[in-house]
Chain length 204, copies 2
């Protein structure tokens, strides 16, 4: 059987994309990245995908009248690639209710905090400013609220005395790069069922 | 030098009070509990305190016209006991802004979640219902907002598959009973400074 196809959506550096590519190469994640979609033509993730032989598509949001129009174009790309799972990896766009409904429990996101603490785009900075002693990483399914959907995996990252945003981010990224391929693999192997906020992992 | 005096305020079972008594007996916490205050005349914590030879005071909130009037009575008890630090251990009362200001950074609380996630009185149940994979314990200074003040210590408690509220609560309590005496000891040894939300622990 051919490996299941995933699509990765990314707006930035693409270090999680790189971690996914590495996990596939090392046989820790049985998948094929059928397409890498970016809304940012200058994003580094595009170069990483091209270097790995992954087809890339850039969709410029300025060409669309509404969020849903963009998402419909995105959907056409995902369908063409035959993606079974959509993996958000630093994709800086809100998805429309239409998209979220259409791909219910088929979109994963990763967040650099222990949700529900510190949602939003400055999670690491917010956690530091709040003075927490423990933050972490969350892999979750996407629902219609930002950084809110059912949680698949979480791992704690303890802070250290004198931690800077840079230090902490580095340790959080290391956990992300290990955790995301595990989460994707669990879903693709059909071991995950979602009921409301209750996410069960078979054999765990 | 005599051990510094603390006051413990408790409305319920008093398992954290028991952990504090044990830590003092074992020499892990250099302190003396000068008084145990409860707002609940039927609370089990009163019996624990009496069994340990700790003076107890019950203040019935119904005897007071306002929150501040109650807190002024509480303050008189704390002053009479010579308490340097006030330790809330399941004290089910909101403290008035007057009290919080008067005892700024001299009141500690413990919460069965990784704040700012799951504040309030049903933290463990709320965390389970949200479907988190990691919860924990927070020891924090009390400010005028509920479960919000500067964080002294936190420790993560990972959830297990099929965890019930009872199981999880038991593991969280075990961490509380270890963590709270450590936090109290750090403050009493003068190793803790608070600036805004930034809590520094000397020599850590």
């Amino acid at each position: 059987m051919p490996a299941p196809v995933i699509a990765v959506c990314c707006s930035g550096e693409g270090t999680n994309l790189q971690a996914i590519i590495r996990a596939i190469r090392r046989g820790r994640l049985r998948a094929r990245v059928g397409v890498m979609v970016s809304d940012n033509p200058g994003a580094l993730c595009l170069r990483r995908a091209i270097a790995a032989g992954i087809p890339t598509v850039v969709i410029d949001p300025r060409g669309f009248g509404s969020r849903e129009a963009f998402d419909r174009a995105l959907s056409r790309i995902l369908e063409k690639a035959g993606a079974r799972l959509i993996v958000l990896a630093g994709f800086m766009r809100l998805l429309s209710p239409w998209f979220v409904r259409r791909y219910r429990w088929r979109v994963l996101n990763i967040h650099p905090a222990l949700l529900p603490a510190f949602p939003g785009t400055h999670a690491v900075r917010d956690a530091l400013r709040h003075g927490v002693r423990v933050s972490g990483v969350t892999v979750h399914f996407v629902d219609s609220q930002v950084d809110h959907g059912p949680i698949l995996l979480q791992e704690a990252v303890p802070l250290k005395a004198g931690d800077t945003e840079e230090n902490l981010l580095k340790r959080i990224h290391r956990v992300e790069h290990r955790l995301y391929p595990i989460g994707i693999d669990l879903v693709l192997r059909g071991r995950v069922t979602v009921r409301g906020r209750d996410v069960r992992i078979a054999g765990r």
